[in-house]
């Protein structure tokens, strides 16, 4: 097993380990090999950007990591647990507790207030009324939306919506924050603001895995993994991370 990011760090630091991870889609006679065997290790407190051309399998890989999708073949350990053996309910628990997902299209509940949207993972975690509201409020304040809590998504700007989504992803204090093109639907200024939020979180110790097309966005991450046709093409440390291009 190759330990790409690790320089003698302990095995306890590993959050994600994949081995020969594959995802094939069978469409009639044709088989789309979206992810063809990815070996990757991600450690606690890393900030990784996954890059690559359209159709290279970035989103498919993220969905596998986020336990939204199940691999066709290969192994995936999350915090040392092999995900393959987990039941549907255990996967739901992992999505709820271990992983925070931020989407390109925000995926907020349009009729619920920002606060309620952030409360959603807490509801499924079984957290009750008052402490739940407090926790959600705290995360909204963390992303700078303390004054927009009772607004509904249609009343918020794109950047504000993505902040709500980030607060929602963080509210259960997940081991891993996944963001699939979080700036894809935002203009470049707003996109960079969102990236500042993520970079801040990473500085406070949040492990983040990010998918992006754009180099200036990827530049916020310390490590870049380039995919091509469902395989890792390059995996390197960006020594200028945090320095804007």
């Amino acid at each position: 097993m190759t330990d790409m990011g690790g320089n003698g760090k302990s095995e306890n630091d590993v959050i994600i380990r994949t081995q020969g991870l594959k995802k094939y889609y069978v469409l009639g006679a044709e088989t789309v090999r979206a992810v063809r065997g990815v070996d990757l290790v991600i450690r606690r407190e890393e900030f990784v950007a996954i890059m690559g051309p359209s159709g290279s399998g970035k989103s498919t890989f993220m969905n596998l990591i986020g336990c939204l999708d199940t691999p066709t073949d290969g192994e995936y350990w999350l915090n040392g647990t092999s995900v393959k053996e987990l039941s549907d309910n255990e996967l739901a628990r992992i999505r709820n507790k271990e992983i925070g997902f931020v989407f390109q299209t925000f995926n907020l509940l349009p009729r619920a207030t920002a606060l309620h949207n952030v409360e959603l993972p807490l509801i499924y975690a079984g957290v009750r009324g008052r402490s739940r509201r407090e926790m959600a409020r705290e995360k909204l304040e963390l992303v700078g939306l303390g004054d927009r809590m009772s607004h509904k998504p249609p009343e918020l700007s794109g950047g504000q919506r993505q902040r709500v989504a980030i607060a929602r992803a963080l509210v259960n204090n997940p081991a891993l924050l996944l963001a699939d093109e979080p700036t894809g639907n935002l203009d470049s200024v707003t996109g960079e603001e969102i990236m500042e939020v993520l970079a801040d979180l990473n500085r406070q110790g949040q492990t983040i895995l990010l998918v992006t097309h754009e180099h200036n966005i990827a530049a916020f991450a310390r490590r870049q993994v380039h995919l091509l046709d469902g395989l890792i093409e390059r995996d390197f440390i960006n020594h200028h991370a945090g320095v804007e291009a």
Partner: protein, 413 residues
């Protein structure tokens, strides 16, 4: 799932379900209309039936088993007397009284709903023409004044005896004050000579307390404009032991009156009260089956409507389901969310239906003067059925929602 975490979630899920129903208030209302109408109609009808049968029960107790009711035969006549409907006339009543050697106490009956006026008050009341014997046969006692006598019948005198509710309907005038006063029936003046005690046996078909009683001949020749036939004849037999004899006497006398040969079908029918009751119960049972059929069909249609709208709702909210799953909702969470939504929808419809039925029954009671009784069992059964429909027709859409793959649901456009 139904551990601590489950019960905790239930209130959340209820909130989500109600919010979804409220967000589509009009659609939800239209969807539940089938259930509202079905439940409402059944509650109204059951209430009417309940009211009727309760009152008929009291009437059985109030009425002797030694009373016979003679009515024109219904249905088509066989043989000779094909032309014209079968009818009973005052002469028939006279013949029964005079030719039965005092065996029968006889009271002919004719009635019509007419405008009755006292001073500036008026109401549409049943004007009932009969002989004095009628009051004895039917256990109606006087509260004030006197009954009319046979001489007043022969003289077609314009005198009236009022049922106990009539003063209430004529401006709430105290009964004593009405005594000796003049009321108008269809513009014809009548002197009030007596007021009856309350009998309290109203049915959907008759209320003896809300009648204006006048002598038969007065009714026939002065009020009803030359109508000479009767609605029926009441006959009292001195004892139940003489019932068979009474039957054959009536049959003999009326056949001679109507010139019907023995062996030919009679153009009248003699029935005692238990016959009437049996007929009533038979009708009621048919009615009940019909009702159950209507209820079943409308609830089935309503249920299919619910299922349809729930499938639409699941499809519309596919992305929401995806988001919820991505945020950690289990299959059971999603299943309950949609099941409870359809349950709430049906229960809401059921509750509105019960309210509508209650209102309908009250309206019928008020407008039609019919007694109604909303049966608690019917309400509980209606709500139970609504809930069962919500679960039965909600389970399939809910399962579809629960089984959605999170990533497929998230990608749904």
């Amino acid at each position: 799932m139904f551990g601590r975490r489950g019960s905790l979630l239930l209130t959340e899920i209820m909130g989500v379900a109600l919010a979804a129903i409220r967000a589509n208030a009009l659609r939800s209302f239209l969807t539940t209309l089938g259930i509202i109408i079905g439940v409402g109609a059944v509650i109204t009808m059951v209430s009417l039936g309940e009211g009727a049968s309760r009152q008929i029960q009291t009437q059985i107790e109030g009425m002797g088993t030694n009373v016979l009711s003679i009515q024109p035969a219904r249905g088509r006549m066989m043989g000779g007397i094909a032309s014209g409907a079968a009818r009973l006339y005052a002469d028939d009543a006279v013949a029964l009284r005079d030719q039965s050697n005092g065996l029968l106490k006889v009271a002919p009956e004719t009635s019509s709903r007419l405008q009755v006026t006292y001073l500036r008050w008026n109401d549409n009341l049943e004007v009932f023409g009969t002989w004095p014997e009628w009051f004895e046969i039917n256990n109606m006692r006087l509260a004030h004044g006197r009954l009319f006598d046979f001489g007043e019948n022969q003289g077609r005198r314009r005198v009236a005896v009022l049922g106990s509710e009539v003063p209430v309907n004529l401006g709430g005038t105290p009964p004593e004050l009405l005594m000796g006063r003049t009321i108008q029936v269809r513009g014809i003046s009548f002197e009030v000579i007596g007021i009856l005690e309350e009998k309290g046996s109203a049915t959907p078909f008759m209320n003896p307390d809300n009648r204006v009683y006048v002598p038969l001949n007065t009714a026939l020749y002065r009020v009803m404009g030359g109508r000479d036939f009767l609605g029926g004849i009441s006959v009292q037999v001195p004892g139940t032991a003489l019932m068979d004899l009474a039957y054959s006497e009536i049959d003999r006398i009326l056949r001679r009156q109507h010139q019907i040969l023995p062996g030919q079908p009679a153009d009248f029918q003699i029935r005692n009260f238990s016959d009437l009751l049996a007929t009533f119960q038979e009708t009621q049972q048919t009615f009940a089956f019909l009702l159950a059929g209507i209820a079943a069909v409308s609830l089935l249609v309503g249920g299919i409507g619910i299922m349809n709208i729930m499938l639409v709702s699941v499809t519309e909210r596919t992305r929401e389901i995806g988001v919820r799953k991505a945020m950690g909702a289990t299959r059971l969470n999603i299943l309950f969310q949609f099941l409870i939504e359809s349950l709430a929808l049906c229960l809401l419809g059921g509750a509105l239906g019960v309210a509508a039925g209650w209102g309908g029954a009250a309206l019928v009671a008020w407008q039609g003067g019919m007694p109604t009784a909303v049966a608690m069992e019917a309400v509980i059964i209606a709500l139970g059925f609504s809930a069962a429909i919500g679960l039965f027709f909600g389970i399939w859409p809910a399962r579809r929602a629960a089984k959605l793959d999170p990533i497929v649901a998230l990608r749904y456009e």
